[in-house]
């Protein structure tokens, strides 16, 4: 199977991020790890692109972020830990419904009914 590049994920990245946060709060790298695990290595994402998506979700009130404490061992820059808000949970539920409709409708036309 071909890999899926970042461009094709446009518009879906935010839903994907919300879905990974359903497993619990996480910082950027952990979110990417979960995406990678969930996509079985078929998702190819420029890692920096995660942050614009997170900032949009934060502005929309769907996730909340707190600075992590002193990073483990090294005294470098700190990351932020993101958590799903009730609003985010609702958005995720709505997004799942829309996705089901989308896939069923297009799948029927493509000749691969879901």
């Amino acid at each position: 199977m071909d890999v899926i590049h970042g461009d094709k994920l446009r518009g879906h990245l935010e839903m994907l991020v919300l879905a990974t946060l359903e497993q619990g709060e996480a910082h950027g790298l952990e979110i990417l790890r979960r995406l990678e695990a969930g996509g079985c290595g078929l998702l190819r994402l420029r890692e920096g692109s995660l942050y614009p998506a997170l900032y949009r979700l934060e502005t929309a009130g769907q996730v909340q972020a707190v600075w992590e404490k002193e990073p483990h061992g090294r005294r470098g820059a700190r990351g932020r830990i993101y958590r799903l808000t009730p609003k985010g949970t609702r958005a995720l539920r709505k997004g799942r419904g829309e996705w089901r409709t989308f896939v069923t409708t297009l799948g029927t036309i493509f000749g691969v009914p879901a």
């Binding site: 950027g28 790298l29 420029r46 890692e47 920096g48 692109s49 942050y51 614009p52 998506a53 900032y55 949009r56 502005t59 990073p71 090294r74 005294r75 470098g76 820059a77 700190r78 990351g79 932020r80």
Partner: protein
């Protein structure tokens, strides 16, 4: 001498232990630049030896060169920590300064090496030069990975149309990510240059990330950005230029407000003699506020730089307090000046001396507290904004 050893990384602490051991081995009673250098080139001391090798300098040649310049001392039994020589202290202060300029929170062996080279006149500096070290080649070689990390982050963040607090957040978070993936790639690839390039590829094309970040911002951020562009500090203007610009803007704003007020009075009921007296305090403000903004603003920056020892200022609490005193004097003079101008009566103005002095002391205290409180963040913002991002650091490549 005030050396912030708590900021040292474990490796840098080991270097200082090794320097102490070298001093003991040579029967010296002090730690000089030569002992620090001898500590740095030991295998267990981390990256410094590799940096020298990359500059075609053989670290193995260092001990022989050092011993040409110094004698071993007489047999002695002194144990424990030896004091630093003034030159070694200066070299370490340069190292701390280097780490701050690279926006790092800790001092590593690479900073110590550059510190020794900058100090230059100690035995270590002489030896390094004798072995063919080009001082201007050392920084890019010693800080290659770090420079790539911060220039990449700043290339992404600087063009984003957001105000400083939001950019500060982006910088730290993106840097944290980049630091971690650099470490991951380093563990995988061993070769630092290849690891850096791989990390940059994983992160993505800076220009594309800038566009995505810019689009992710709420509309309000755009206004905050415009206001900051208009009235805030613009890199790389000097403190004097910045405070002067704000003073002129303040003058124009007050003059316009006053003009509108006067025009409204004239149109509605005509001007009469008593209005001159009513308007005097406003005229005094028009004169004094911009002047004070300029002087006090400039003093604030001088106090901040003296407190933190940055941007060419020596770190000195005494110097900062003197400047604070000057700050209070400016407030006293302009306070009395305001009352004198507003009442047109010097005697009445001098009666206000006590409240004015109290206000001046309070203002100076507030200024110093603010410089302590906000200094670190402001300095970091300034360093980021002044970072040279055009000299493309090695390892930056598009996807």
């Amino acid at each position: 001498m005030n050396i912030p050893f708590h900021q040292f990384t474990d490796e840098a602490r080991r270097v200082m232990d090794l320097a102490n051991a070298e001093s003991r081995r040579l029967n010296h009673e002090y730690i000089g630049t030569e002992h620090v250098l001898l500590g740095l080139i030991k295998k267990e001391a981390g990256v410094a030896a590799d940096i020298l090798k990359n500059l075609a300098i053989d670290p193995g040649a260092v001990p022989a060169e050092v011993e040409k310049l110094i004698k071993t001392g007489p047999e002695m039994t002194a144990v424990g920590e030896r004091p630093l020589t003034p030159r070694a202290g200066a070299a370490i202060r340069y190292a701390v300064e280097e780490s701050r300029r690279l926006l790092q929170k800790s001092v590593g062996p690479e900073h110590l090496l550059v510190g020794l080279a900058i100090e230059g006149a100690g035995v270590a500096g002489l030896v390094l030069r004798k072995l063919g070290l080009e001082p201007q080649a050392l920084r890019p070689a010693a800080f290659k990975v770090r420079l790539m990390q911060i220039t990449t982050v700043e290339k992404i963040v600087r063009p984003v149309r957001a105000a400083t607090p939001r950019k500060r957040k982006m910088r730290e978070e993106l840097l944290a990510h980049l630091e971690t993936i650099c470490e991951e790639e380093r563990a995988r690839l061993k070769d630092p240059a290849a690891a850096t390039a791989a990390a940059a590829r994983r992160f993505g094309d800076p220009a594309a990330l800038t566009r995505e970040l810019d689009r992710s911002l709420p509309r309000l951020e755009r206004y905050a950005y415009r206001v900051e562009r208009r009235f805030g500090w613009r890199a790389p203007e000097s403190a004097a230029r910045y405070t002067l610009r704000v003073a002129m803007q303040l003058f124009v704003v007050i003059a316009m407000a006053l003009g509108i007020l006067v025009a409204a009075v004239v149109v509605s009921r005509g001007w009469n003699q008593a209005d001159w007296i009513a308007i005097r305090p406003a005229l005094a403000l028009l004169l004094l506020l911009p002047l004070d903004e300029f002087l006090l603003g400039l003093l604030y920056f001088k106090i901040r730089d003296a407190l933190w020892g940055v941007f060419g200022a020596r770190r000195s609490a005494f110097h900062a307090s003197l400047l604070g005193l000057l700050f209070a004097c400016v407030v006293v003079v302009s306070g009395l000046g305001f009352f004198a101008l507003a009442t047109w009566d010097v005697d009445r103005a001098t009666q206000q001396i006590y409240p004015v002095v109290v206000a001046a002391v309070a203002a100076a205290t507030a200024c110093i507290s603010l410089a302590r409180l906000r200094g670190r963040v402001e300095i970091a913002d300034t360093l980021w904004a002044c970072l040279d991002i055009d000299t493309s650091a090695p390892g930056i490549a598009g996807p």
